[in-house]
């Protein structure tokens, strides 16, 4: 049905609500009823009035007729009386007279003239008639007749008047009645017409309204039937504000929802199919069990994997049945368990979910079974044939092991190389220097110069070897960063003095400047030192009679402290081209420069690597002929490398772990604890060694941070006790060097990598600083003969009594025999090497606190360093600066020993 125009009646009907329609219809009909009734009432009243008027007229007519009748009666009785002379007639006549009077009185009201006329006539008649009667009574007939005749005249007059009146009234009454009748008829017709039209109109309106209600209702009904049958609903009533419009809208929405649902169902079905197809396509076996461990779904691959139980895999099958079938049919290796045990174990694992096992099945097939629990309690199993994978894994494992061993061989080679290469050089350089001293003492200046050439070449060679080893270490990825906190100024001073000869050689002049303020830095001391040394020596090499300036500045960038180091010279400078080639290994800026200026060309590469390792950057500026400036900047706090592989003995260091901090100095302990907590660990603090040990035993921490430098407390004994306790032995102990006194810390905590040969001057200087008075007996444990004799000579000259041991075993014997003041220990020794000896030493109560100075040319790994730190009082690297450090360390340890003694 098309929507009728809103202006038209059907349109308006359609637009309004049902209640409105019904109400309107009722209102209209009632209104019509009321109207018609009121009109009819009015007509009725009018008619009534007309009827009343007519009746009035008739009444008047009646009265007149009455009067006429009574007059007739009067005449009759008078006549009767005149004839019969009976008193009855007389009485009747009198009564009639009275009646006539009454009637005439009534006539007076509306026809007074006529009434008067009649009255006069009647009374005259009566009088005359009475007289006639009297005459007849008296037998005087003649008179009587006369009188009667006269009376007759009057009576005639009265009668005529009456008749006329009656006639008139009759006419009027008839007219009034006719009018009333006509009017009534009109009214009736009008009412009938009105009623008819109202009925018709009402019926039409009702039909309209009904139609407006029933038609859309029927349509909606049909639509709903069709929708429930799944078909399209067909034409709906127009959506609008009325009930049907709303219902139509609702139906349409329902239809839309149904369609959407159908689409969703379709999509779901497609998706389901897609998933099923996917599951079937997946190369792994797939099985799904519901929350009651009954099979829901299985794919073809599973059946391929387990052909022996394939017939059982129907939906509804319980998992237990399947397991049992697996065992009974020999599809699986139970690996020693009984069938029941195996089934029970697998069942339990299945129920727990979230497991992954690799099960060997008959025929040497390996199946990886991954089980997961679904959110609604079911279990999903994925069966992957990993036979190939395992095979490959085995191969890979073999290859890895081969690679590892190759790598280890490489490392060992590097380590031994450095040792092998450096050891003879130590001898060359060491002996050379000694000879120089001897020569100087004996005034043989010419020999000195020759000897200096030897030692110089030796140093040069050493430098080259060091660089090459460093580079190969870097390239092998074995270069490690060893971060520690230290003060810059002493380092700068040290560098300055070390490089002084090189500077002086070309007549240059060195300026070292550092900004005021905090000079604490936390980075790899050795590498920084090497960097500075490299740059300064380069500057010295390429500058003649110029100025070399080392400037250090501390800058804050983005909230982080950075240290800028700049080495500028007034040397030959570089061109653009030369600068570009600068950082390529083995290439000096110019092939000519090596000849002229020496050097391996590796220095800068190493420096750059080191800088990058320390988290910094490097840059160079240069003006040919005017000079160059090499800058590098490193963060004041070196970003630590990611936590390395945990020590086999260590566990739980990653993530949360408990760390026991033992330090009897509150500030230091708090500082360490803070560092530990910031790293994500739980820190337990102990104020003393005893407390620390008790806490360690009670709390079983994952690591112990022990501050060795505990004034007033022997940290070594704590360490010894930790090592001695079977419960605590495996707990890694880290020696912390965060102390108030940096110098002391550096001295005791820092591991100085001193590369042989040791500078005798340094050694002497530090030795002189040793407080005398004590016994100066030192045991030197070193397998390399020349090195041993070198030490021997060094130390003897300084007034030390030197005992020697060529290897660890001998050393130990010597120690046990007679405890020296301290021991100088080489690490790389055949048989019992330095580590082992140290360990043995620490285990002996009598020797545990023996100060040990480790002198080594071996580059130590962090682990080794750490280990050494725990076991050794000091680790001093053999090498160029080693001696000075060694002596300084000696001094320190002696001082400590003396203090303890």
């Amino acid at each position: 049905m098309t929507t009728p125009a809103l202006g038209s009646l059907p349109g308006r009907i359609g637009a309004s609500t049902i209640s409105l329609r019904i109400t309107a219809l009722s209102a209209v009909l009632l209104g019509a009823l009321v109207l018609s009734v009121s009109v009819m009432s009015w007509d009725l009243l009018a008619n009534q009035r007309r009827m009343d008027a007519a009746n009035e007229r008739f009444h008047k007519l009646e009265l007149a007729a009455n009067a006429q009748r009574t007059f007739g009666e009067l005449r009759y009785w008078m006549t009767d009386l005149a004839v019969s002379l009976l008193t009855l007639s007389e009485r009747q006549a009198a009564a009639a007279r009275q009646a006539l009077d009454r009637d005439l009185a009534r006539l007076d009201a509306f026809a007074p003239d006529a009434a008067a006329h009649i009255r006069s006539g009647a009374s005259a008649y009566y009088d005359l008639a009475t007289q006639a009667v009297d005459a007849y009574t008296a037998d005087t007939r003649v008179i009587g007749n006369t009188l009667l005749a006269a009376a007759r005249r009057h009576s005639q007059q009265a009668e005529d008047a009456l008749a006329a009146l009656v006639e008139r009234l009759q006419v009027e009454a008839d007219r009034a009645r006719d009018e009333a009748a006509a009017a009534a008829h009109t009214a009736l017709v009008r009412s009938a017409v009105a009623a008819g039209s109202i009925v018709i109109g009402g019926v039409l309106l009702t039909l309209l309204v009904l139609r407006s209600i029933l038609t859309p209702l029927g349509r909606l009904n049909l639509a709903m039937e069709r929708m429930s049958a799944g078909q399209a609903p067909g034409p709906l009533p127009p959506e609008g504000a009325d009930e049907f419009g709303r219902m139509a809208r609702t139906l349409r929405m329902l239809q839309d929802a149904q369609e959407a649902r159908r689409e969703l169902e379709e999509a779901a079905r497609r998706q389901h199919n897609t998933i099923l197809t996917a599951i079937e396509t997946v190369p792994d076996g797939f099985v799904l069990y519901d929350a009651e461990d009954r099979l829901v779904m299985v794919n073809a691959r599973y059946l391929e994997i387990f052909p022996l139980v394939a017939d059982l895999m129907t939906p509804g099958r319980s998992f237990e049945e399947v397991l049992r079938a697996h065992v009974e049919r020999g599809a699986v290796e139970t690996e020693g368990l009984s069938a029941e045990e195996w089934v029970a174990e697998r069942l339990q694992r299945h129920r727990a979910g979230g497991s992954m096992i690799e099960q060997r099945f008959t025929g040497d097939a390996w199946i990886r079974i991954v089980r997961r629990k679904t959110p609604d309690g079911g279990t999903v199993g994925v069966y992957t044939d990993i036979t190939d994978l395992r095979r490959r894994q085995d191969e890979l494992e073999k290859a890895r092991r081969g690679a590892e061993s190759a790598n280890e061989a490489k490392s060992r080679f590097l380590a031994s190389m450095s040792h092998e290469l450096r050891t003879p050089l130590n001898a060359i350089i060491g002996y050379g220097e000694m000879l120089i001293e001897d020569a100087r003492e004996s005034g043989d200046e010419r020999t000195v110069a020759d000897l200096e050439k030897i030692t110089g070449s030796g140093r040069h060679l050493l430098g080259l070897i060091n660089d090459i080893l460093d580079l190969s270490k870097i390239e092998a990825g074995k270069m490690e960063l060893y971060v520690e906190s230290f003060a810059l100024r002493p380092l700068l001073a040290d560098v300055e003095s070390t490089v002084a000869p090189l500077i002086a050689r070309n007549g240059n002049h060195l300026l070292v400047e550092m900004t005021e303020g905090d000079d604490t830095i936390r980075t790899d001391r050795t590498k920084l030192r090497q960097n500075l040394f490299n740059l300064l020596s380069n500057a010295a090499k390429f500058t003649e009679n110029g100025e070399i300036r080392l400037s250090v500045a501390r800058r804050k960038v983005d909230g982080q402290d950075w240290l800028d180091f700049a080495v500028s010279d007034t040397g030959i400078g570089m061109t653009e081209e030369q600068r570009a080639r600068l950082f390529r290994a083995f290439v000096q800026a110019d092939t000519s420069t090596s000849r002229n200026y020496g050097g391996t060309g590796l220095g800068l590469v190493i420096t750059q690597s080191f800088t990058q390792m320390m988290g910094g950057t490097m840059q160079v500026e240069s003006t040919p002929g005017a000079g160059s400036t090499f800058r590098f900047r490193i963060p004041a706090v070196c970003p630590e490398p990611a936590a390395e592989e945990p020590h086999p003995a260590a566990h739980g260091l990653e993530g949360r772990g408990r760390v026991l901090v033992i330090d009897d100095e509150a500030l230091g302990r708090n500082a360490i604890a803070e560092v530990v907590r910031e790293a994500g660990f739980v820190a337990i603090e102990a104020k003393s060694g005893a407390e620390g040990l008790a806490l360690a035993r009670a709390a079983r921490p994952d690591a112990i941070v022990l501050d060795i430098i505990m004034p007033g407390q022997d940290g070594w004994s704590v360490l010894r006790e930790i090592r001695a306790d079977p419960a605590l032995r495996d707990v890694p102990v880290i020696l912390a060097t965060v102390v108030a006194d940096r110098e002391m810390g550096l001295a005791f905590g820092a591991v100085d990598h001193l590369v042989k040969p040791i500078d005798p001057v340094r050694l002497l200087a530090t030795l002189e600083a040793i407080v005398g008075g004590g016994r100066r007996e030192v045991l030197v444990v070193e397998d390399d003969g020349p090195t041993r004799s070198l030490f021997h000579r060094l130390l003897t000259r300084e007034g030390w009594h030197v005992r020697e041991a060529a290897d660890g075993v001998q050393g130990l014997r010597e120690l046990e025999e007679h405890r020296p003041t301290l021991m100088v220990l080489d690490l790389m020794m055949p048989g019992m090497d330095g580590f082992q000896l140290l360990a043995a030493v620490k285990q002996r109560p009598a020797l545990a606190d023996l100060p040990v100075i480790v002198v080594t040319s071996k580059d130590l790994t962090r682990d080794e360093l750490d280990w050494l730190k725990t076991h050794a009082g000091e680790v001093v690297m053999k090498g160029e600066r080693g001696r000075a450090e060694l002596v300084a360390a000696l001094k320190r340890h002696v001082a400590e020993t003396e203090a303890a003694a």
Partner: protein, 248 residues
């Protein structure tokens, strides 16, 4: 009436004599009155008793003559009063009057014989009262100057205008005869002027007899045979009165 001066004088004398006689003989006047009333009343009764015969439509010749009626009336009078109406010792005047009455009675019946003998007509209308009135009128024609007889009744009972009581009769009926204590049958007499002549008037009450009641009896209001409503009287009630006027 012949009214010459001489006649008048004579009359006067006679009247005076009569009056004297009357006054001297009030009782005789009364007796005259009674006699007159009696005979006429008897005639009335006879007629009344023959009403059935009279009104029979099937009988033509009824043989009810004047002679017969008078004879029966005299017979009845004699039975009632113990003497005939005309006796030996009656005065001339009195005799004349009575005989006039009898004559009137006879004549009236005779004149109406045709009516009475009419066949096919039921009610003849020859009522006792009508007979009486006619007789009285004839009497008056005969001796009207000497005596008059009128059969009247109380006004409410009078049927014919002609029989209406005059003023004197009305008064007497109302205050004397009509009163409950009036002895039954006792006449009222009074000497009074009538038409300017002294007279002796008498009013003798008449009571309903059984035969009267058929027209005058109960129930009251019911139309009687004459078409007149009944009066509702009972036997013995005062039904009328005979009014005698004897001129002195």
């Amino acid at each position: 009436m012949r009214c010459t001066r001489k006649g008048l004088l004579v009359l006067g004398v006679v009247a005076a004599c009569a009056a004297a006689a009357a006054s001297a003989d009030n009782g005789s006047e009364r007796a005259i009155g009674e006699r007159l009333a009696g005979i006429i009343g008897a005639g009335r009764s006879v007629v009344s008793s023959h009403q059935g015969l009279i009104n029979d439509p099937d009988i033509g010749e009824k043989n009810l003559t004047g002679e017969r009626v008078v004879a029966e009336a005299v017979e009845l009078y004699e039975k009632r009063r113990g003497e005939p109406p005309v006796t030996e010792g009656m005065k001339e005047g009195e005799r004349r009057l009575v005989e006039a009455a009898l004559a009137a009675m006879r004549e009236i019946v005779d004149e109406n014989e045709a009516l009475i003998d009419m066949k096919g007509l039921g009610f003849k209308g020859f009522l006792p009262a009508t007979y009486t009135r006619l007789v009285n009128e004839r009497f008056a024609e005969k001796v009207g100057s000497e005596a008059r007889v009128k059969f009247t009744a109380p006004p409410e009972l009078v049927r014919n205008r002609k029989a209406r009581p005059d003023a004197w009769e009305q008064r007497v009926l109302a205050s004397e005869l009509g009163t409950p204590g009036w002895p039954m049958g006792e006449p009222y007499t009074e000497a009074i002027e009538v038409e300017g002549r002294p007279a002796f008037r008498m009013l003798i009450p008449e009571y309903y007899s059984a035969s009267c009641l058929s027209c005058h009896g109960e129930p009251k209001g019911q139309t009687d045979v004459t078409g007149y409503p009944k009066e509702g009287g009972r036997e013995g009630d005062l039904g009328g009165a005979t009014s005698i006027t004897l001129f002195r």
